[in-house]
């Protein structure tokens, strides 16, 4: 039981990071970036490339990975999303999908189809805790996730830039009127959300391995978390990420491991059907969103 909870927390922190990435872009643009899972995959694989092939020390490799994926996300926004000023919704969805196919194609071309290993960040020795075995990497995952969440919260609540971004989310027109460059905010939001994906990818690879086609399922589950938490709400999506992770690991352990991937999706469908504003979303807020 405790074991399931640990696994759940680990999965949950990844979903939370992916969900946070969705939330960033959605808040700044109203777009749901279906290529979000690809950022996670790229983060994992670039980290593998840096540490195992270039033999760069891990901390430096992590920084390089972060920078590289952030750059990819920003370039993607510049080249693919930016030119589509008044595009229809279907076109926007298709563009992020085409982007995800392209990223997957590049990754398959560069890394092949095999999954890659990455050594744990710290010690490899399993820890025994309350009768459960704990991989030390799980502590890294939880710690880094909490750090990132704290950082993001600080960014949005305390810095001028973060507040400007929140303003764009509430009302782009009004934000523009008070002198905020909405275009720049959108650009940055893609970069930051790619960085969040890269972090998730880099820290999860030592536990789950990483291969080129991992993206779509991660994106779907992260999105489930984002919706369950009330789309657009950062604390909500983090809580929902952990909730879905725990549900999934409990489901895998108690029901059937084959259907574990279906659990998050079922939650997604039920939430969308019954209460699209999410568990933590308020009713007034949801009326402002376009369901």
């Amino acid at each position: 039981m405790i074991q399931f909870l640990f696994t759940g927390f680990t999965l949950g922190s990844i979903y939370a990071l992916v969900a946070l990435g969705f939330t960033m872009i959605y808040n700044a643009t109203g777009i749901i970036n279906l290529a979000q899972g690809e950022f996670v995959m790229l983060g994992g694989l670039i980290m593998v490339f840096c540490t195992l092939i270039l033999k760069i020390p891990m901390v430096l490799g992590f920084v390089i990975t972060l920078a590289a994926v952030t750059l990819i996300g920003a370039i993607f926004q510049r080249l693919a999303i930016h030119p589509l000023k008044n595009a229809s919704l279907i076109t926007l969805i298709m563009v992020t999908l085409a982007g995800s196919i392209l990223f997957r194609g590049v990754a398959m071309f560069l890394w092949g189809k095999d999954p890659y290993m990455l050594p744990a960040f710290g010690s490899q020795k399993p820890i025994q805790l309350w009768g459960a075995t704990l991989q030390p990497q799980i502590l890294w995952v939880l710690g880094i996730t909490l750090g990132v969440v704290a950082g993001i919260t600080y960014f949005f609540k305390r810095t001028l830039f973060g507040k400007a971004m929140t303003a764009c989310a509430f009302n782009p027109l009004a934000a523009r009127l008070v002198g905020i460059s909405v275009g720049k905010m959108v650009f940055v939001s893609f970069g930051v959300s790619a960085a969040l994906g890269a972090i998730a990818g880099a820290i999860i690879t030592p536990i789950t391995l990483m291969e080129y086609d991992r993206g779509p399922l991660l994106a779907l589950k992260g999105f489930s978390a984002a919706v369950l938490g009330g789309l657009g709400s950062a604390p909500g999506s983090i809580a929902a990420g952990f909730l879905i992770g725990i549900l999934e690991s409990l489901g895998a352990g108690l029901i059937s491991s084959g259907y574990k991937d279906a659990i998050a999706l079922l939650v997604l469908l039920l939430v969308l059907w019954i209460k699209p504003s999410g568990l933590f979303g308020s009713k007034e807020e949801s009326e402002l969103k376009k369901f």
């Binding site: 749901i32 693919a80 595009a87 279907i90 298709m94 196919i101 279906a262 999706l265």
Partner: protein, 316 residues
């Protein structure tokens, strides 16, 4: 149905009629044309859903799979007649589309896209996990060919059957969009509120076209199962749903023909790209992305605009 549609139809029918003989019964060309027709059938249904009702579905491969697995499982494990299995698949798809469509079609835009995506993925997982029936990830083989009165349809005769089915559905769709129902759908696409004010039951209209497109997909799936004699869940996954959607978007959502054109491009293009080997996926993604960026209205409309020399206006 308009006169121009008739002309286009005759030209395509003539090409398809002559082609197998001109190619000397070449197996490769026959299967390529069969796949083109199968994809075109599904794309036709999707273009009704997207172009006319303005709804997006990222889970249509699931309905294809439901049709294919109905045919496959019922004919191999329960020795049912292929036609009976075929009809069962249609009803099963329609029923599931009805149940799923009701709550899902209330959603809009991105939410609808992701909900259908989730639905498709769940069906995909079920295909994998119900292995006593479906054979699981390794698939289901030895599906008998479609036969009428003991006369099996294979090769060229199957090619003609598939295209005949496509033409029937195409004529039906062309008539549908020019009927009261089609006008109601376009009104819903324009503005649900306005359509409602004019007495159109928007949610009813959307649900009907969603079920119809699921039926098209199921027909295509059943035919696919009988043609290949082998099915596995991977053929009905997310990638194929995206591919179907790409067909409609690339062809253009303005007319029913867009779906056909998109199906033709996306069925034939990979065959040309095959020479590129490892670069195939890359080239594929790049081509899709550039069509979306430079011809957001689809190839049909893009070419028409270039041909008529009008300056391309931006996307809607």
């Amino acid at each position: 149905m308009k006169r121009k549609d008739f002309h286009a139809l005759w030209i395509i029918a003539a090409v398809i009629g002559i082609f197998p003989w001109a190619a000397g019964g070449n197996q490769y060309f026959i299967s390529l044309l069969v796949f083109l027709a199968l994809n075109a059938i599904t794309a036709l249904g999707l273009s009704l859903l997207m172009g006319y009702a303005g709804q997006i579905s990222l889970g249509h491969a699931a309905f294809l799979g439901i049709g294919a697995y109905s045919s496959g499982v019922l004919t191999t494990q329960y020795a049912l007649h292929p036609l009976a299995a075929f009809v069962f698949g249609i009803f099963l798809s329609a029923g599931i589309a009805f149940l799923v469509g009701r709550p899902t079609l209330r959603l809009k835009g991105h939410y609808m896209a992701v909900a259908t995506l989730g639905f498709g993925e769940i069906v995909f997982i079920v295909f994998n996990e119900l292995s006593p029936f479906t054979g699981g990830p390794s698939g289901l083989s030895n599906i008998p060919p479609l036969s009428f009165w003991g006369f099996p349809l294979e090769g060229i005769s199957f090619l003609y059957l598939v295209w005949a089915v496509f033409f029937l559905l195409l004529i039906f769709s062309l008539n549908l969009v020019n009927s009261r129902v089609g006008r109601a759908l376009r009104a819903v696409h324009g503005s649900e509120l306005a359509a409602g004010a004019m007495g159109v039951d928007a949610s009813q209209a959307k649900l009907q076209v969603f079920v119809l497109s699921a039926v098209y997909a199921s027909i295509s799936g059943s035919l696919y199962a009988h043609f290949l004699a082998f099915i596995s869940p991977n053929a009905f996954g997310l990638m194929f749903s995206i591919l179907l959607l790409m067909m409609v978007v690339i062809g253009g959502t303005q007319t029913v023909w867009g779906g056909f054109l998109g199906a033709a491009i996306l069925t034939l293009l990979p065959e040309y790209l095959r020479g590129l080997e490892d670069f195939e996926v890359l080239a594929y993604g790049a081509i899709l992305l550039s069509v979306l960026l430079f011809m957001p209205q689809g190839v049909l409309e893009g070419v028409r605009r270039i041909a008529s020399g009008r300056k391309e206006r931006g996307a809607r």
